[in-house]
């Protein structure tokens, strides 16, 4: 395989996105009068194409070997492969990101036509590029690339959040998002410099290799070098900021409320998937041998995050803001999975000991993420559905929705049920895997806290449902929407159902993704 082949195979989806993104920008320059819908459809095309390319990467049987082979023969290829990894974690989360992005693109078109008067091509272009940044984020196994990708994703999100030109709330949301982001970035970079000081490298797998000998045969966690551990925690500021975990969550409710709704959906779905995947890559894979140092902290933060999200959500009257707190609490559940990590998992990942699926939480996180993405997208599609008609997202706009649009009400109810965790929807099994793993790792208190939190969360989700079904509608006319938005909602709910019913295959897929997490490009250049 030549270098060019390798380059295209390895970076296929990313190259495709870059190409289409710049194409969108230039198209606007060449044909200023092109109908705006064209840009939306091109964006959709970009994401569908990306999904296809990722699928091709996953399905081609010996791609990984070919890549490895080529990298050994080719110097440039070596550097590509050592910074940009094509392991299961990356492909799985790219798949999830693209699925989320497709649904988001579907709901964006109408919203944009209704709410934006200018800058529409750039809006789509920026969406494409932020998805590109997310793809880089989940693939990079080197700190410099990783931090550039995170910043790229953040900066394009700031801009997108500020996009409602005349709306002060939008600018304010972006401003807060930006300032908190800049602070956490600085802290995270400081942490990276400490990690660099402690390890002398920026490659995650080299760090793993350094810590591995100290892990020992028994899998007993050891006390990690302090600068590295403190640096890792400071890096948690950046990653925690991306996924909106407490105490780095401050921006989240405000940005979610102020940003254009499709961008809110983007932040809560695509951005969160990428953030969680990166968090797992850094913590569970790069610094897995140091788990004794960070597991208690993540367990504690997980508890705080879900409790804060759920309790604060109880009082929200704006459904967009409610979704913000809800997404914070969902991150709390996800973190249970990270906290249930143990050194023996690490050895399992390396193939050093046999796999006991029930004990390991990491595949559960992926399963949960996928279900969460579908359910959340279903919910957001209905929210946009209503917002496009009513022009608002307060609770009152949803009153009597069951009479005004029974389909929308049913879809939103199902999405919420999945988020609460009612079988047979995906949310239930996701929580089942995560709480089960926590139980088997001696984190019973965390599992109990998760269950209690799920009960609390039912209050605010069902409050919205109650208003939809038992309150008289504010206005009599039906709420209709375009085929794109409704199909996005239907796809989201169907996805949540499918993942729930096909639990076993989905879980197997998530698990398969994980046997590559600790993918260290086992190539030595000769």
């Amino acid at each position: 395989m030549t270098f060019k082949d390798l380059f295209i195979l390895l970076l296929g989806p990313e190259l495709w996105l870059t190409f289409l993104g710049f194409f969108l920008f230039t198209l606007d320059l060449i044909f200023p009068r092109a109908p705006k819908k064209v840009f939306g459809l091109l964006t959709l095309l970009a994401f569908v194409g990306g999904l296809v390319l990722v699928a091709a990467q996953v399905l081609s049987p010996d791609l990984a070997d070919e890549v490895r082979q080529a990298a050994q023969e080719n110097r440039l290829g070596y550097w590509l492969v050592t910074t940009f990894s094509l392991d299961g974690l990356a492909t799985f989360s790219k798949g999830a990101i693209f699925i989320g992005a497709i649904l988001i693109a579907l709901v964006t078109v109408d919203y944009v036509e209704k709410n934006l008067r200018e800058g529409i091509p750039e809006f789509y272009g920026l969406m494409v590029f932020s998805v590109l940044a997310l793809c880089f984020m989940v693939s990079s196994v080197e700190l410099i690339t990783l931090f550039l990708a995170i910043e790229f994703a953040s900066i394009s999100s700031y801009i997108l959040a500020a996009y409602l030109r005349g709306d002060p709330k939008s600018s304010e949301a972006a401003m807060k998002y930006f300032l908190v982001g800049a602070t956490t970035t600085a802290a995270g970079l400081y942490g990276m410099s400490l990690i660099y000081a402690g390890t002398g490298t920026t490659y995650l797998y080299e760090m793993t290799a350094q810590f591995m000998p100290q892990l020992g045969e028994t899998g007993v966690a050891f006390s990690p070098p302090l600068p590295v551990l403190i640096g890792l925690l400071m890096m948690l500021a950046t990653l925690g900021f991306k996924v909106a975990m407490v105490p780095f969550h401050g921006w989240c409710p405000d940005a979610y409320e102020g940003a254009p709704t499709p961008i809110t959906a983007f932040l809560s779905v695509a951005s969160k998937i990428a953030g969680m995947a990166t968090l797992m890559r850094v913590f569970a894979s790069g610094f897995g041998p140091l788990s004794a140092g960070w597991v208690p902290i993540l367990a504690f933060l997980s508890l705080v995050t879900m409790t804060f999200g759920n309790l604060a959500a109880l009082w929200q009257t704006n459904v967009k803001r409610l979704m913000a707190y809800s997404s914070i609490s969902q991150v709390g559940y996800l973190l249970i999975g990270v906290a249930a990590f143990s050194p023996s998992d690490f050895q399992t990942l390396l193939g050093m000991s046999t796999f006991q699926g029930s004990e390991m939480a990491l595949p559960g996180i992926f399963y949960f993420l996928l279900g969460y993405a579908f359910a959340n997208m279903g919910a957001f599609a209905v929210i946009i559905w209503v917002e496009n008609w009513e022009g608002a997202t307060d609770r009152e706009s949803f009153e009597g929705l069951a009479q005004r649009s029974p389909v929308a009400a049913a879809l939103l109810t199902l999405s919420f049920l999945s988020l609460i965790g009612i079988p047979p929807l995906a949310g239930f099994f996701g929580k089942f895997f995560l709480f089960g793993a926590a139980l088997s790792r001696g984190l019973g208190w965390l599992a109990i806290a998760g269950v209690v939190n799920s009960v609390i969360s039912a209050f605010y989700y069902l409050e919205v449902v109650r208003r939809m079904y038992f309150f008289p509608p504010r206005r009599p006319e039906r709420v209709s929407t375009s085929l794109m938005v409704s199909s996005a909602a239907v796809l989201g709910v169907v996805g949540a159902f499918a993942i729930g019913i096909l639990t076993e295959p989905a879980y197997q897929w998530a698990m398969a993704a994980f046997f590559d997490v600790v993918f260290a490009p086992n190539i030595s250049f000769r």
Binding site: L148, I159, R165, S171, A186, L189, D254
Partner: protein, 105 residues
């Protein structure tokens, strides 16, 4: 007397802490952005000093490259940050961050 790594670490820590102080106390958004620059420079001092003191081979300049990318980031951040300041000024007629709280609770 010898200047060692800890001198640089402490200097960068001081700069970082001053940046944090500024970020928490200044009200003007532009001033806040300057404080962010201070914090990023603290990181750069760290990176370059670590590179020099801990890497025996001077040609492996990972830290310097890292610092260069941090500068790139700082440029992009400053650019977007000021664009946001202008946008928020246009919409709200103020740039003091403690007066910007339409969104809360």
């Amino acid at each position: 007397m010898e200047i060692g790594l800890s001198h640089y670490l402490i200097l960068s820590g001081l700069l970082f802490a001053i940046g944090i102080y500024g970020i928490l106390t200044r009200r003007n958004a532009i001033a806040l952005l300057m404080c962010v620059e201070l914090m990023l420079n603290a990181v750069n001092i760290n990176l370059v000093a670590i590179n020099r003191f801990l890497q025996p081979d001077w040609r492996i300049m990972t830290g310097q490259i890292f610092a260069a990318f941090v500068i790139v980031l700082a440029a992009a951040e400053a650019c977007v940050g000021f664009a946001l300041v202008i946008a928020i000024y246009r919409n709200l007629n103020r740039i003091n961050v403690d007066e910007i709280n339409l969104l809360k609770w």
